[in-house]
Amino acid sequence: MYVIVAGCGRVGSSVARQLAAEGHDVAVIDEDAQAFGLLGDDFPGQYVVGAAIDWDVLREAGIEGADAFAAATDGDNTNIVCALIAAREFEVSCAIARVYDPLRARLFEEKAGIRTVCPTLEAQTMMVDAVRTCPAAGKGG
């Protein structure tokens, strides 16, 4: 599979490394060339410096032949917009955006045809589960 990851922060770089380790072809986009340091020296994929909402930058990363696009920059709106561009203009069948805000995550998943990952909801579920499994949880109100 050919995958483009936008945003090379903690999440983006880990996703890129893991997918590359699984044998996928990966290209990573970030505005800051220094961010690619997180990928390590042995990263086999491609780097592109630029804004992920810029169509020319997306083309340079090979979006015209991409199977999947994962947006994990630090901005919810940037992730939504570049995933929309990937899906609508470049017809990437699987365009995913990380969106911290649960309301926007649901809206764009339900009505705009992209997939969203909401870390806030994941954290909320895990937190509640963790509290429920505390030793004192059986005590009730």
């Binding site: 909402i53 810029d54 930058v57 919810d76 940037t78 917009v81 561009i85 809206l107 764009f108 009505k111």
Partner: protein, 236 residues
């Protein structure tokens, strides 16, 4: 009319003031605390503090009953998202958005934000209009209405030169609206005659630019004449 404006920068503030003066109900959302504090004495309840890309903030502003949403923040991603939320979630009848970087115009078009304003592109059009070297200048584009206003030069090689407007053979989808001569505009009545050195204002359907250029400037390549006239790639 009830209008929700996002972004109380120079543009948003003046839109809010003008709409209020015209008797409309307007509320502007601003997320920078210092800007909010500065404008609060003037705007009072017509301003709301918060991130206007957050759905709960938009709801607090009353987006559900808005007749128009104006997205004029300094961030194109935010303006796209505001436009999309207004349309997808609240079926707001009209959305106007500001394009900060002309490179992003295509994204607004792609996502169906049909009323966009790009200061950089408009400024470039006005500069080209003032500079004699440009023989073709796109002046205004009304996307939703499917009509454009452009300016084109009449030269010695223009077949329509020395011809009255009513006798000019124009490509389909093109209409001559006015003739600019000696610093003034003449409405293009049928008996006005085009002269070399004139600039002609034409109304046309989108996509007719090349046909127009070929009919006025037959020896020039349309691509060369148009070069640098559309939303020009700015800095990344």
């Amino acid at each position: 009319m009830f209008v929700v404006i996002v972004g109380a920068g120079k543009v948003g503030l003046n839109v809010t003031r003008s709409l209020t003066r015209l008797g409309h109900e307007a509320i502007v959302i601003e997320q920078r605390r210092s800007r909010y504090d500065l404008l609060l004495p003037e705007l009072g309840e017509r301003m709301l503090f918060g991130d206007g890309t957050e759905i709960w903030v938009l709801e607090k502003a009353g987006i559900g009953r808005a007749d128009l949403v104006v997205a004029v923040t300094g961030d194109d991603e935010d303006n796209v998202v505001i436009s999309q939320v207004a349309r997808l979630q609240y079926n707001v009848p009209k959305v106007v958005a500001r394009v900060n970087n002309p490179r992003n115009q295509a994204t607004f078009d792609l996502l169906g934000v049909d009323a966009t304003v790009c200061a950089a592109t408009m400024l470039m059009s006005m500069i080209q209009h003032e500079l004699p070297v440009h023989q073709f200048v796109p002046l205004l584009s009304l996307r939703r209405e499917n009509v454009e206003l452009v300016e084109i030069a009449v030269t010695d090689e223009t077949p329509a030169a020395h011809t009255a407007v009513r006798d000019i053979r124009l490509p389909a989808g093109v209409l001559v609206a006015a003739i600019l001569r000696g610093g003034t505009a003449l409405l293009a009545h049928g008996d006005e005659v085009l002269l070399p050195g004139d600039q002609v204002l034409c109304l046309l359907e989108p996509g007719k630019e090349k046909a127009l250029i070929r009919s006025f400037l037959p020896s020039r390549k349309p691509e060369d004449v148009q070069a640098g006239t559309s939303a020009d790639p700015g800095d990344r």
